[in-house]
Amino acid sequence: MRQLNLLLVLLNSAKPLTRSEIIDQVEGYGDPENESVQRKFERDKDDLRKYVNIVTKKDGDGILDVYQLDKSETFMPDLSLTSEERMLMALAAKAWGDAFVKQAANAGVVVSGIDVSEIDAVHASFGSNERHLATLISALTEKRVVQFEYYSRHTNSIGHRTVDPWQLALHQDRWYLYGFDHDKQASRMFKLGRIRGSVNVSDQIISQNAPDQIDIASMFDEYQKTEPEPTVARVRVPVRDCANLRLNCSKVLNEGDFDVIEIIYDDSFHLSHQIALVADRAEVLQPEHLRTLVDEIVQATVRENS
């Protein structure tokens, strides 16, 4: 309650106020000279700063701190939204599958005066089943360092990571965190599914700001590309079978009970796993390298399950 009163005092003051002036004018503080009252004020001010912009300056004599609310940073700017845009914003909020993120988006939409009940006819959702999303969005927006235990597939081990979070990305149905890894002293991509336990948001503010331009899509493309040029794979499969390969093929040549399908690819990791999914009826005709990759996957499974 005191925090809201503090907000109203700042809202209604035409001039910047000193700490003593504010404490005098806000009901519930008490004696401005009392140290515990001053500490209360500092705590309230920090709490309010999460939601509104309180500017600190020096007074006319350059001695005392004075505080003023930056109204342009506190109240909604004129967005001039069309009815279609308002509907889209409500739909965007509703689309979140994660309850906490949805609540944040919804709160924003609701406060801006948009009626979320207008769009019941359209259903779309994403981002559920990802328990770290809300925590990471909050850390990212507050520019706070995060820490977590992370499983590295490369080293097959779990290690502690301290990261400046820069961007969250949904790519091929999986969420990733892109940020600055303190231990590696370099930018890194973390798959959220490999985070063990919970994500801890520290009080520490990030030391490395995100680069001006982050092109995540290109980064994924480059990261996943295994072939220098698009390569043609030819795989013989039974007719009316191996739908996963057919969905991405460029050509189908019928050979009686079989089809030879051609797939143009640059990510042999992905394609070899797709072929392994139907390994019992797929014959890789070319390239040999791809057949070897599939064979490695199948033989690793055999070793683990024999």
Partner: protein, 311 residues
């Protein structure tokens, strides 16, 4: 009840810009109980400003009135200094723009240009929020999607070639499309299937081909919805790398326990064909613990691969 500053601040701006409003509407908008709304309103009523000489004056005038339908109404006559809704917090605008980027990747659902324009407009007003979340989802084949939509509107049958997720087989089916459902990056078509003689769900991204026919849909509204046939009735125990658990729908995971760096997961499945393929493509990241029959199927499939691909 502890006062949540975020909600109280938002409520102040909301009441200012939406007054008068029903209490139940406020509760729905903020996802809180009606009695919590009343509690917040009583807090806000006590807000005060300094009038000089140690005198404080209440500054928010909120009235609760019963209307004919016995709804409570909240109206604010004056909220000093609050002359517009509060600006979005960074978390709110990041979540909204993230949602818009998701919609941008669903051109079958919304007008992509309008969404892009809105993202640009919001990004210009709220700097820094645009880059926080990136969404990259493979779009659905627009021709197939349009064909389905038209067939639903025209009440005609569709002939489709569908790739089964369970065993990757391709079947030709005549279906009567009923409704499109959007969920977790996938769009599903509920339709009466003449082959199964039941209502079935078809993932639109698994439809290889769709052709609208002139045959009117019979609209078999009393048809068996097939849920019993689609329900999973087998269970398996796997030793699995935790991230691979994402491949399973949460409702199919019966139990998990940590075993070293891996998880032992008890999972309900509808058929061994799908799960055996998943084990095969895991490259050893999934070990079958039970039943032995599943392990045998995996090994048989591996043997078949070797026979087919011996050079």
């Amino acid at each position: 009840m502890a006062l949540n500053l975020n909600i109280a601040l938002a409520l102040l701006g909301y009441l200012r810009s939406n007054s008068p409003v029903k209490v139940c509407q406020v509760a729905t908008a903020f996802d809180i109980a009606e009695k919590e709304v009343i509690q917040y309103i009583s807090y806000l009523r006590e807000l005060s400003v300094f009038e000089g000489y140690d005198r404080f004056e209440n500054c928010v005038d909120i009235e609760l009135e019963d209307d004919d339908e016995e709804h409570l109404w909240v109206s604010t006559r004056e909220t000093l200094g609050v002359d517009a809704p509060l600006k979005f917090t960074t978390a709110q605008i990041v979540a909204i723009i993230g949602g818009l980027k998701f919609l941008e990747s669903q051109p079958h659902l919304v007008d992509r240009e309008t969404v892009s324009g809105l993202i640009e407009k919001l990004s210009a007003k709220f700097s820094g929020a645009e880059t926080a979340i990136s969404i990259d989802i493979d779009p659905i084949n627009p021709e197939i999607f349009d064909t389905i939509k038209t067939a639903i509107t025209d009440d005609v049958c569709l002939e489709i070639e569908y790739g089964s997720i369970t065993d990757q087989s391709v079947t030709k089916r005549t279906i009567e499309p009923l409704v499109l459902l959007h969920n977790e990056n996938t769009v599903t078509l509920r339709a009466y299937c003449h082959l199964s003689e039941a209502i079935r769900s078809f993932r639109v991204d698994r439809i290889l081909k769709a052709v609208a026919t002139a045959t009117p849909a019979l609209m078999l509204v009393n048809a068996d919805d097939g849920s019993a046939m689609e329900s999973a009735n087998l269970s398996v125990r796997l030793l699995i790398e935790p991230e691979l658990l994402e491949d399973f729908a949460p409702q199919t995971i019966l139990d998990t326990k940590i075993v070293g760096d891996k998880l032992e997961a008890h999972i309900r499945v509808s058929a061994f064909s799908w799960i055996s393929s998943l084990v095969l493509t895991s490259g050893g990241a999934i070990k079958v613990l039970d039943p032995p029959q599943l392990r045998e199927i995996v090994l048989e499939k591996a043997e078949r691969w070797t026979q087919l691909n011996q050079q």
